[in-house]
Amino acid sequence: MTALAVKLAAVGKDYRHFHLRDIDLELEEGRVMGFVGPNGAGKSTTIRILLGLIHQDRGHVSVLGHSMPRDQVAAKWDIGFVSEDMRLYGQATLEWHMKLMASIYPKWDEDYAAQLLKRFELRPQQAMRRVSHGERTKALLLLALARRPRLLVLDEPTTGLDPVARRDVLAELMDVILDERRSILFSSHNTLDVEQISDQITFIDKGRIIRSLDKETFLDRWRRLRFEARGGFSSDGLPGIVETVRSGQLGAVVTDVYSDDVVERVKRAGAEITAIERMTLEEIFVANVVRSRKEVRP
């Protein structure tokens, strides 16, 4: 049983207009977790609870073996955190920030930092208030990566980056994974990135975790079956069907437990299957959210 880099058990937090409920999350050491959810779903809150910046009202949080928020300082020595709404000091330069980090963290790797400067094409002498959004994100990542943390927690790391910058960032993140003791948890709207580098994917909506599974299982279990109805076809009551879309005789059903049985059942209910399609993570995510919202308010 591999060690857990992150473990949240029955975590909850109450705000006036928003509630985080029953959050169970486990990230094994050496893996990458993609955290996907609409705006306001609770991603940032969950991440901040994970870092000990917000104290949970219920439940237990353990990061790198440390109980949070009690041992947050011990944990933060080994965690690199980059968030989209984080800002460096505008009047200072990147070099100043790098010196600050080097003075705090013994694990700061000067050579790696220099490499990242080149790879990310950043100018150390530039004042942080004059940099573009993409450069700021890359600067924050540099400051986090160069001290080789055991856990990287990233809130929207590729949002607002141009395709080249995105590719550079993903490449650096994947280099982190070369060390099997280092893990990454990142939240993103960019489902392509999540689909590409995540080992495990967690969907969150309205303060609840909808699903948390390893990526290949997600992609294996979900299918869209396109059909041509043969008189009297109805998907009502068919088990395993998440969603049906129909226009006249043509339509498609979505299943999250794809197997030959499901295909058979749809055929027996009166449909001719014309195509079986794999779904992108984005489509799976949307279908999950729609279903979970229907369950709450039928």
């Binding site: 050496g30 893996r31 990458v32 993903l170 490449a171 994947m174 280099d175 994974i177 070369l178 099997e180 392509l192 689909e195 590409q196 580098i197 995540s198 080992d199 495990q200 390893d214 990526k215 290949e216 992609l219 295909v263 299957i273 079986i276 794999r278």
Partner: protein, 130 residues
Amino acid sequence: MHSELVISQSDGRPMYQQVMDQIRQKIAVGDWPGGHELPSIRALAASVKVSVITVKRAYMELEREGLIVTRQGRGSFVADDANIGPKLQREELQHHLEEAVKRARLLGMDLSELLDLVRWVRAQALKDER
């Protein structure tokens, strides 16, 4: 960073299959001969920029097919099989046939109808060759 394989997200096939196909190709053309040590799962994942779990799955499936062998604690190696070329090609054929059988079932064809179609296709192919 130089990558040995290239994964495309616009390719309709799942990523683990793309990885498998490219490894198979490398074996079939002799770039990775029998006994050659495959990169570690993490190293390949990092160089191709795909998740470790995807590469792990690709390696597992290739091992199931007998194309590679994983030795506990020592890594994965291309199977030491003299027949690997023809074996691979036979597997590729089997893969295509699996596709055909699946589609036939979807269309509601039974075995004899499928075999008739195979015979017809073969006859056409032989005709074209002449």
